[in-house]
């Protein structure tokens, strides 16, 4: 997967601008990052990674922000740290978000191999391996189910 690198404090208005929030996810995703990286939505490929600095996803509770990234095919998010609210939203939508203290060592276009479960990132371009904070097991089970909605579906279907 290829890395799309952004800076510190990437905000939800940049990821999913408010004026498109009335529309469906397909339309919102088309405008993803348009104020900071016009064309991102057409350039990003299925299975790519979005990499941020500190406090990635700061701002709104709108889950269309991680949803738009997922819709565009982004497979994993890596950042030095995440906004707590955004982090919860990403996991709840089944999009792995890995906090990695060395996220800034990743450069635009680097080829990565990410193991969300093991919490490691292999940078195939530089040959480095980066360690991530592990995702707690109960959140990993939500990701494995594909998000909180399918997770709840499973839980409600299970006989009491």
């Amino acid at each position: 997967m290829r890395a799309w690198v952004f800076g510190d404090n990437v905000d939800t208005d940049a990821i999913a601008p408010g004026r498109y929030m009335k529309l469906g996810i397909e339309e919102i995703a088309r405008h993803c990052f348009e104020a900071v990286d016009p064309g991102f939505a057409t350039k990003v490929k299925n299975g790519d990674a979005v990499v941020g600095g500190r406090n990635f996803g700061t701002g709104s509770s709108r889950e269309q922000a991680p949803e738009a990234l997922k819709h565009l095919g982004v497979a994993v998010l890596v950042a030095e740290s995440f906004s707590g609210l955004f982090y919860r939203n990403a996991i709840n939508l089944g999009l792995p978000a890995l906090a990695c203290a060395q996220a800034k060592r990743i450069r635009q276009g680097d080829l990565l191999k990410v193991d969300p479960l093991g919490g490691t990132i292999e940078n195939l371009t530089t040959g480095e391996t980066l360690e991530c904070e592990p995702i707690p097991p109960f959140l990993m089970s939500i990701i494995r189910d594909g998000g909180l909605l399918p997770h709840l579906e499973k839980r409600l279907a299970r006989p009491a």
């Binding site: 404090n9 104020a35 406090n55 701002g59 509770s61 609210l85 109960f138 409600l156």
Partner: protein, 412 residues
């Protein structure tokens, strides 16, 4: 062992006596609030997919504020879904076009000290002003709450912001928050509980306290908290419990400030953390906006009026009172009249421009000064617009001067 206010609130909600910061607990939710954008339109199809009902409709509050006034087919549809869904779901507490959710919720008596509450909006920490543990969550997580009545939480540490003395005339809660966000950054709160304390905080009105807790979102805290006291009781007009932390409870950090030293603050584009004292700015502005949950409550309108009384705005001045009740009170006492005489154009009691919703968006190249919470690039309209954030005093003074101006010169 002495406990922080946050620990006490989380312990009550999770059914444990002692909770330890960092520990993951499951809390029972006393109240879940949603608005039209994150609420019914996203909950309804997911509830149907699950074939599930609300865990307790009496604990749900629905408030329309984002897509009002509805201006096209999409926004009309979103509002209509909210109106229909509350009937289907049996939600009695529905406030339609009454103002912004964070202001309407306490105004209509839904919050009380000791509660554990969630809101489908990032500014939900506003509820912490009432010594309730309240924080924002996304729509899918809200679905989980709606179905189970529960939510997981990492027990937070507490960061105390202690303000001694008192704020100077012309300085307000908004200045306190812009200062703190500038000082500690947008992740300074570390997704922990931020507690505001000290004589300067005790002296603040409830609506000013709400502004502090509201912008804990921009400070990066999970919630902002203020212990309940006689000011809380007077606002809620009913007997309340006093919820406060214990002396000596362990804190992640304890920051002490002299409130009297604080000057009015301005955050330059494109971050609320890009803050400096007002004296460092002289930029010309072509629009002044007094709006939002964090900047157009009755107290905010009064601050603006104290500057604008007998004066005229040199620039386009837009006022969107945060709730209908606040607007009516402002009208009755003459505050609204002062704003209109100064040339203000009145907008609806909704989120409006703050979040880039609705028809009023900043055009290309616009330079605005605003009482809102966020000045991210493109948020209020064009990506080339420049937005400065400031208190209602400073926004009003800047409207009079046509450039960013210190309100204290006009209040003297």
């Amino acid at each position: 062992m002495p406990r922080t206010l946050a620990q006490k609130l989380v312990a009550r909600a999770s059914g444990g006596e002692q909770v330890t910061p960092g520990e993951i607990v499951t809390c029972k939710v006393d109240l879940a609030m949603v608005h039209d954008s994150s609420g019914p339109r996203r909950l309804k199809p997911r509830l149907e997919r699950l074939g599930a009902k609300l865990w307790d409709p009496s604990k749900v509050v629905v408030i329309t504020d984002h897509y009002l006034p509805a201006y096209d087919d999409e926004s009309r549809k979103i509002i209509q879904i909210a109106r229909d869904w509350v009937k289907e779901a049996g939600v009695g507490a529905f406030y339609d076009a009454q103002g912004i959710c964070h202001v309407v919720l306490p105004e209509r008596g839904h919050l009380r000290p000791g509660m554990f509450a969630v809101g489908g909006d990032s500014h939900s920490p506003t509820g912490g002003a009432f010594a309730a543990y309240m924080f924002g969550i996304g729509a899918t997580e809200m679905l989980g709450v709606m179905v189970t009545g529960e939510i997981w939480l990492k027990v937070p540490h507490t960061i105390a912001m202690d303000f001694d003395g008192g704020l100077s005339p012309g300085v307000s809660a908004k200045d306190v928050m812009l200062f703190l966000i500038g000082r500690f950054g947008m992740d300074g709160g570390q997704y922990q509980a931020v507690e505001y304390r000290g004589p300067a905080i005790r002296a603040l009105s409830m609506q000013e306290r709400m502004t502090l807790c509201n912008m804990t979102a921009e400070l990066g805290g999970q919630t902002g908290l203020i212990a309940s006291d006689s000011v809380t009781e007077e606002f809620l007009k009913k007997k309340i419990e006093i919820w406060d932390g214990d002396a000596g409870a362990p804190l992640l950090a304890h920051h002490k400030f002299d409130a009297g030293e604080l000057a009015p603050q301005v955050a330059a584009p494109h971050s609320p953390a890009n803050t400096r004292a007002v004296g460092e700015f002289r930029e010309k502005v072509d629009l002044a906006y007094i709006g939002a949950c964090t900047g157009a409550k009755l107290d905010d309108l009064r601050m603006a009026a104290s500057v604008l009384k007998g004066r005229k705005s040199k620039v386009k001045l837009l006022v969107a009172p945060a709730s209908l009740r606040d607007q009516q009170a402002a009208e009755k006492e003459g505050t609204l009249g002062i704003l209109l005489d100064a040339g203000a154009e009145l907008l609806a009691n909704s989120c409006g421009m703050c979040a880039g919703y609705g028809e009023n968006l900043l055009p290309d190249g616009a330079v605005a000064i605003s009482t809102t919470a966020r000045n991210f690039k493109g948020r209020m309209g064009s990506a080339s617009a420049q937005v400065y954030l400031a208190s209602p005093y400073t926004v009003a003074a800047s409207a009079v001067a046509g450039r960013i101006a210190d309100p204290r010169e006009l209040l003297a």
